[in-house]
Amino acid sequence: MSTAGHGAAVRIEACGKTFADGTRALDPATLDIARGETLVLLGPSGCGKTTMLRIIAGLELPDVGGKVLFDGKDMTSVPIERRNVGMVFQSYALFPNMTVADNIAYGLKIRGVARGERAARVAELVALTNITGLENRRIDQLSGGQRQRVALARAVAIRPGILLLDEPLTALDAALRDRLRSELNRLLRALGITTIYVTHDQAEAMELGDRIVVMRKGAIAQIGTPREVYFAPKDRFVAEFIGAANIVEAPVENGVLILPGGRLPIECGATTANATVMIRPETIRVTEAGEGILSGIVDSVSFIGDRQRLVVSDASSKPLNVDAPNTIQARIGDRIGLSIAPDAVRLLPSEPRD
């Protein structure tokens, strides 16, 4: 692809958004996105991620003082039609009065690209997105997955500097979503274009993002690689939003967490009356009763296939979720031992619960 390695670096500077009715959608945020990077804006609905995307796209103006820069050039007042961004909408927003090929070629036609060159580019994208043979279909004759591919092909056709995707997989059913996710990942890597991807699905964010921006209530909660936000969440919200997490509140004495089911050594932690820690379910190892660091009683067993999820009570103040190998025989009511490596316990800043 001739677009490989291209794309613009994006910087947003103190961009906030307050709507006309006074609602604060986004606190002033500053963010740098490197050339060719895939950045995922992740958060629950209403967290401001779509607003941030629309500010970058040029569909919303940031509040006074906010700036959007592409490759160092101030684009804040440049309308979307001159920003050269490719955008994929959650509803796909394909033009119903045009065929698949006309949809893909629309941006090129607007740019005055000659007919022959347009056709060549359409053929290239149709092949890239696996929709060969659908060129002359009407949009209402396409399945959801096909529409998603057409929307992507149309956005990429204009060789945009930045690709913006607003929950592009949300409208699809679960099985298709998983399949398209890996396909999308391969495509984004192949294109090498700067991509900003909005989603509320943490699995999507993990797989697609070079970096993830976790957002909450109009503010950035954490920025980091998928590994960083997963293993080292900054706070309780991030820990619980990304993956499954056991949040345990307990006193710490000399680097040892005091739990009802035993004393758990942890890496860091001065003595405190009430510490908040996170333990991922897959870091807890099930042992025979009497062995291990903690002891608890199996509350429930859910067989998932590749693993089983146990809920173990009595080990901590709240029941612990434990991901055990699918070979372990555990019955409800069994007493078992649990062992947890010190570095698997992550201390979180204490915060008032909301």
Binding site: A57, L59, P79, I80, E81, R82, R83, N84, V85, G86, M87, F89, Q90, S91, A93, L94, F95, P96, N97, M98, Y106, G107, I110, R111, R138, D140, R154, A155, I158, L164
Partner: protein, 271 residues
């Protein structure tokens, strides 16, 4: 009583009314049209006789002009009203749709007050140019009246259609580089095509057949409904007026059918 016969039973009143007040008079009208001195050829008079043909052309042109101008005015107004919120918006919409409540006679009367011999425009032009502009009693007055009549209906239809438009479509077009004009041309207008056909058909049919306004303005305006009226009441020419009535109905239906099939592909695609 079975489910099916119950449904038929419920449809009985409609069947009675349709038969009594639509099918029977229509059949009588069709028969009457052929009972003149020329027999069935009386039906061709609308096309062959120069005076009738000129009136027919006049009427179609008037209806077409009304439809086109109404669509242009109402689309712009409807889009603006649907997309913007401002103080007085509700009042403005109420005012714009007010003419829905007026019969044709009242609309005709208002046109006379505006552009008649004692009308506002005449007064004004008399003061400025020393000459009275009077056009209420002509086909231009009628055009103005029909415009006044059709705009509210079309505006309401367009507003409903604009409300259903996916804003994402326009944003997508803009992201691809389309100027505001290109967005209108390539995205918005095609999406509104079904509404144009539906509301345009009503405007056209109304302008073809409306009588009250024309009658109020003058008895010598060359439009088909007036012609039918004069043939019927003044010349007592039952056969001709019946033939003209059937012709008016057929031609209106034919033009609407053509418009519908012509825009059919666009409608299907946008649906």
């Amino acid at each position: 009583m079975s489910q099916k016969s119950f449904v038929w039973f419920c449809l009985l009143p409609l069947a009675v009314v349709t038969t009594a007040f639509f099918l029977l008079p229509m059949a009588r009208l069709v028969v009457a049209g052929a009972e003149g001195p020329h027999g069935l050829a009386g039906y061709l008079a609308i096309l062959t006789e120069a005076r009738y043909r000129a009136t027919l052309i006049n009427t179609v042109l008037l209806a077409a002009a009304t439809t086109v101008v109404t669509l242009i005015v109402a689309t712009i107004a409807g889009m603006f009203l649907q997309r913007h919120r401002f103080p007085g918006r509700a009042v403005l919409i109420a005012m714009l749709t007010f003419p829905l409540a007026f019969p044709g006679v009242v609309v005709g009367f208002m046109i006379i007050l505006l552009a008649g011999r004692q009308g506002l425009i005449g007064d004004l032009s008399n003061r400025i140019f020393g000459e009275k502009f009077v056009f209420a009693y002509s086909i231009y007055g009628l055009f103005l009246g029909y415009l006044y009549f059709s705009i509210p209906r079309v505006i309401l239809t367009i507003m409903a259609a604009v409300q259903k438009l996916d804003v994402g479509l326009e944003e997508a077009a803009r992201s691809l580089g389309a100027s505001p004009w290109a967005v209108q041309r390539d995205v918005v207008l095609p999406a509104l095509a079904p509404a144009f056909v539906a509301s345009g058909a009503i405007a056209f049919a109304t302008a073809m057949g409306a009588f009250g306004t024309a009658f109020t303005l003058a008895t010598n305006i060359d439009v088909l409904p007036m012609l039918i009226y004069t043939e019927f009441t003044l010349a007592a020419n039952f056969a001709t007026s019946a033939a003209l009535s059937v012709g008016l109905g057929l031609i209106t239906w034919l033009i609407l059918a053509l418009a519908r099939s012509f825009s059919g592909s666009a409608v299907a695609a946008a649906g």
